[in-house]
Symmetry: C2
Subunit: 260 residues, 2 copies
Amino acid sequence: MPGKEQTNGLWIVGCGPGKQEYMTGRAIAAIARADYVIGNDSYLTPLGPLLNGKTVIRSSMGKEVERATKAIELARSHAVAIISGGDAGVYGMAGIVLEVLEHSGAQIPVEIVPGVTAANAGASLVGSPLSGDFAVISLSDLLTPLEVIEKRLDAVFSVGIPVVIYNPRSHGRPHNFALAVEHARKFYPPTVPVAIVKNALREDQAEPVITTLGEIENVIDAIDMHTTVIFGGIESRIWRMGDYARGIITPRGYQRKYVY
Amino acid sequence: MPGKEQTNGLWIVGCGPGKQEYMTGRAIAAIARADYVIGNDSYLTPLGPLLNGKTVIRSSMGKEVERATKAIELARSHAVAIISGGDAGVYGMAGIVLEVLEHSGAQIPVEIVPGVTAANAGASLVGSPLSGDFAVISLSDLLTPLEVIEKRLDAVFSVGIPVVIYNPRSHGRPHNFALAVEHARKFYPPTVPVAIVKNALREDQAEPVITTLGEIENVIDAIDMHTTVIFGGIESRIWRMGDYARGIITPRGYQRKYVY
């Protein structure tokens, strides 16, 4: 990791879901010390005044390799913060930056600053759907063949654990989500709850949608590339608390051990 | 969620791995407004001066149901922060508090504040082991039968994704980790990398251990209940960068699409 005295290096920063209050102090400090801040617009915009005095390089979605190469070049002599939404290590910039760095043969101090990933941000808005074991699967087949994704879905649904779906639906692949639903239905009854969370803990957050596997077609329009979908597991159930809340509870198993 | 004017309610707060710089601003604010702060010692101690002026109720591990009941009782008329390590929704307090709350029939404003969970904190110290899809499995059989855990391990290893193991080993269940290794070996070659991270991003963090599935017995003593173990997936590899770093890279698949 780069030391305090270090004037050059790469900070790969997970900025959490979007609102600044969900960033860690470490993420804010890493941006504060950076000469250059590199990221795509949707992650840079919420940073607002944190970017004052920095050289900001705005990149676009899909240009991750180019962005990583540029960041490494600059980091030979400057402090460079590369911005990821959520956690930098989960569908974020950490992987590709380290791959390009390895290939370049350069030796540059690197720190990865973890953040609140969309699975946890989304779950926090809909009760406790991920109380125990769970899996995280992306439906984007840009980098992973669709048949591999389908095998993974089958495997995790077959053991009844909750599954968080990243990149559930986009213009380029409108049908992948329907496939995921098909796989879930092989193993789960129609009563299993499903949550759809759009722009979780961002300024433009939508009201989360709580539905079931049996009724999900009714709310399919709520799902796009800015949503995270959480399939409950076989033991999950809808949670209600009068006017205050509606969501999903996945019991941890305390009910098997304790009376309450 | 409790509003700004709200004087009573439950804030179930994920405080991240331990060091205060890895807490979110929202978590700090939730504690600041609380009259009562409830949690177990290992999560309360790092909070230090944030607890000044609060009534602090220290509970012990394994007393989660009791802690939840007490918190709900107090929250009828006070602002109560319940402290979880990591993320409140992942093996944290959110699930059991909502279960007990539901059972009590009380209607109390609740906010779950997400945090950086051990999977992401641990991964950030060892490169990018979780770049894409992954699963999170606890080896604690206190609340989940061991045969269920074994089936889950088989399912996730069978599709080659990285697996983060929570609660890998304790005095009460010294053999569960060996079982997990057995299941991994059914599907993964001995070259698959494994990371052992102890007290990630806490004051007493240990140097992470990077090994392989084939050699893990040599470092088994490094694994205890304070460690998170990350099994790489079938595509993961050891990552080295001279003197600066050693860890794991799980490629996202960019190498199939781009030249770099």
